[in-house]
């Protein structure tokens, strides 16, 4: 149940997947809001939450990567064309890459901006680089560019899952749903 099988994602993989979906949704709102605020308490609070949640995502993604490598990956239904299977796998790895790289770019931006990252005020993370205005600007631009790429890839990923569920009527989405195991209509 905890571990993946060749047919379904286990509880751990599903929990990590959906927790990160929720956190990323909040992050988009906080990040887009915070980026346009003038220097002030509201920006400090918004971006402090953004940083704490971003570091949480980084930690969860590290666990997720380890879990993925230590578990079987459910097979895609064999009727899916080879090209689509490859596209699906590329998309998944691109999501992993972005979800790991984005917090790191944000962390570098924060360190280079002389703003040490704290985790909800409980503890602080070490600064990755010295204060450097130019580096901060570059890291922030990269962070933003990756944000728009992430939103695009997530849209592709989500629409593909819905296509599998409602048009192709296969088990691809159900594999990632807690109630998927008992759902009817599994054609895989």
């Amino acid at each position: 149940m905890l571990r993946n099988t060749h047919e379904y994602y286990g509880v751990v993989a599903q929990s990590l997947h959906w927790a990160i979906v929720g956190l990323v949704a909040v992050q988009v709102v906080l990040g887009v809001t915070g980026a346009d605020l003038p220097l002030g308490m509201e920006r400090l609070i918004t971006l402090s939450w953004h940083k704490s949640l971003g570091m949480t995502i980084l930690a969860l993604m590290a666990m997720r990567l380890a879990w993925r490598l230590a578990n079987p990956v459910p097979r895609l239904p064999p009727q899916i064309p080879r090209l689509e299977q490859q596209l699906a796998h590329s998309t998944h790895w691109l999501l992993y890459g972005l979800l790991l790289a984005m917090p790191l770019a944000g962390w570098i931006n924060s360190s280079a901006s002389n703003l040490t990252v704290s985790w909800f005020g409980v503890f602080t993370f070490p600064d990755l680089v010295e204060t450097d205005k130019a580096l901060a600007t570059g890291a922030k631009a990269l962070h933003k560019a990756m944000a728009w790429l992430l939103i695009s890839v997530v849209a592709l990923h989500g629409l593909a899952a819905l296509r599998h569920h409602f048009i192709l009527k296969d088990s691809v989405l159900l594999r990632m749903l807690p109630w998927g195991r008992r759902a009817p209509g599994d054609k895989s």
Binding site: T116, S118, T131
Partner: protein, 198 residues
């Protein structure tokens, strides 16, 4: 008393050399005057690139010593121009109205070999409070002396952070002031130090 004599009398305490005490002034380049505040529970560090002062201290009779330190608040340097501008603004140092933070000693005592504690009046913006600063003063390897120490103040005691910045949940009240300053013999011509702009 003639008015010229009165003026000399007023100036005398700042430049007087107490018997047995040597007077020193800061040497800018190797020195550091740092503040460590906090944002969102993480330290936020900056420094002041320009300061001056005069320290007269006889290790055998520290109680006869005195010191005055002037910090140019507009020389605040956090490495990020946006923050420096905000700190120079009306909500923080308001450097246009109060360009100098000043410490003037009232009493110095010995607390051990090369260790001292100085009490004095510390002025930030238009508020003056008495603070005590433990410090050490030891011969520097490169010649001259080195003085270093630190103390903690509460920024709101001095109205640093007005308006929304008074909220201490996200910007802590406590600020550590830390200094490591190289001293050279005072030539008696008055003192000044401005670190080169990095």
């Amino acid at each position: 008393m003639k008015s010229r004599d009165a003026l000399l009398f007023l100036l005398l305490p700042a430049y007087s050399v107490v018997a047995g005490a040597e007077c020193w002034k800061p040497d800018p380049s190797p020195s550091k005057v740092v503040f460590v505040a906090s944002q969102a529970g993480a330290p936020f560090e900056g420094s002041f690139r320009s300061f001056s002062g005069c320290i007269c201290l006889d290790p055998a009779n520290p109680e006869t010593g005195n010191m005055e330190i002037n910090i140019d608040t507009a020389a605040v340097d956090t490495g990020i121009p946006e923050f420096d501008d905000a700190l120079r603004g009306a909500d923080f140092f308001d450097t246009a109205r109060w360009p100098t933070a000043r410490f003037t000693s009232t009493a110095i005592k010995s607390t051990g070999e090369g260790k001292y504690s100085v009490r004095g009046q510390f002025t930030l913006r238009d508020i003056t409070r008495e603070i005590e600063v433990p410090f050490s003063m030891t011969p520097a390897q490169a010649g001259g002396m080195q003085i270093s120490g630190q103390t903690v103040i509460k920024r709101l005691d001095y109205n640093i952070g007005l308006g929304e910045w008074r909220d201490t949940r996200w910007v802590g009240d406590e600020v550590t002031l830390r200094f490591t300053v190289a001293l050279t013999q005072d030539d008696g011509k008055g003192v000044g130090a401005t670190a080169p702009t990095p």
